[in-house]
Symmetry: C2
Subunit: 322 residues, 2 copies
Amino acid sequence: MADMNHIIEGVLAGNRRAIARAISLVENSSVTPKELLNGIHSATGRAYRVGVTGPPGAGKSTLTNKLAKLYRQRNLRIGIIAVDPTSPFTGGALLGDRVRMSDVEMDEAVFIRSMASRGSLGGLSKKANEAADILDAAGHDVVLLETVGVGQSELDIAGAADTTIVVLVPESGDGIQAMKAGLMEIGDFFVLNKADRPGADQAVMSIKMILGFRPHSESTWMPDVLKTQASEGKGIEEVVEYVQKHREHLEKSGALAQRRMERLERRIREIVERQLHIDFWNPDRSLLLRSQIEKVYEKQMTLYDLAGSLIESFKITQSFAT
Amino acid sequence: MADMNHIIEGVLAGNRRAIARAISLVENSSVTPKELLNGIHSATGRAYRVGVTGPPGAGKSTLTNKLAKLYRQRNLRIGIIAVDPTSPFTGGALLGDRVRMSDVEMDEAVFIRSMASRGSLGGLSKKANEAADILDAAGHDVVLLETVGVGQSELDIAGAADTTIVVLVPESGDGIQAMKAGLMEIGDFFVLNKADRPGADQAVMSIKMILGFRPHSESTWMPDVLKTQASEGKGIEEVVEYVQKHREHLEKSGALAQRRMERLERRIREIVERQLHIDFWNPDRSLLLRSQIEKVYEKQMTLYDLAGSLIESFKITQSFAT
């Protein structure tokens, strides 16, 4: 495919239109464009990936925006992937990231892409990882992954970063809800945004207390809590410095390579499972399931009986296929 | 297994200890106790399943508790499954459902079970469905499934009910956040709890407006919004009546059988995928992945190369196995 080679070359050259097309291929294809991802693989691994997550309304987009601006002032090329939950029945994003990102969107060295979580059925973190690979291969120095911290799939994306920042606000600051949502475990450090609001100091204390209970997997790293007022640009410098501090910690300890290998392993597992899913649920087998389901409903057979016979039919097909 | 037959008989007789043991088997086993589930299958399908979901803090447990009480006054046997998000690092529920459920927990005709979402890796809705089957087979007339409406897995559980109630509060009432979380699509009707708080009427209006945009799959059913103050017991009667109204609608239109067959289909798909997962990731293949991952990290091969060779090795094994 000459066209695919053209896209790959364009991505590697940092061409914006090629990058946009490549991400669209990854996002919209039901079949993964393997050739594309194989073609850029050797150019990946240079970008530093920073996840920004937290509950809705914490100011993640604003923080991401300000981080991008500051990195730009340091002459770094920035890629942003914003995963925006959309509703299956509205068919679109409720709030356009393009609007919220307006500070940096006109900057040619910042590439911003919104991805919809709608209809991606668990493939979201796979697609976000692959989009990050594309931005990485295209020569961006930092890739910011902004995701709302509700739902496993979104947490997976945040966990796909080298450094994950969890953004909270005083209202969510007692930490209990964040803890329930699984946010406290994935943060490499925490940002208390809108820190001018009442209760900010208590919220910081409470987060720190909860963090104190967290087992420290990398013994020397203790996540801290920083205060920001992202909309006023306050505290952003400190966040960038803290990302750098965490990065140096990971590099020195060898944990960065370790993290990245674990991430690759998770991604390969996900690729395998999706392929198996596609191989298994071919039209014939889906039809077989549908034609038998009434028997399960009528109690003539059990769920496990039917599941077993479907798996049996797969094994036979596989045996013929090889 | 004489022991398993003993549990099955106990469940079918409505014995509380047998029910508790059966649910524990489903919840804690990495391998599904097929024999148990096959053994009770023919006794399922009699209970009516009601999902209660919504954002954290909406008062779901209180509402569930009051609903159970009211059903009890009508001499119905009630099963409750509460899926409580727990933190992987605390290792337990943050708030004990047993405490919150105290109104009904001493009642012998109410069976309450908390299930942890921790560590269940996507199998949560499978386990909740199976626990509901057990309560169903044990002769409970109504099974209440209480889940927090954050995360796909939790939404799946709510969707596993015959009637799903989405609980909101005035603070979450603009509906936008609920919409983002996917809650608006799954509700058969909506309860605005804590309706004495400011903004309740506007919240109801706003929810109704959003519902107006929702395509109606079952043309004659239009979800309504009821107001409650669950902690004071206000509005509970209306909720019970509305559940009944929805149930009659489903039964008359034939949609109940349809919903239940679709649910069975989803569950069989999930059983199949889990089994494939177990078959695929045997110790040998996991070892193969781990031994090759460094090559991917070092750019000697791509993610898709390694995924492809793992799948190839599975096909060969399957061919030998049959």
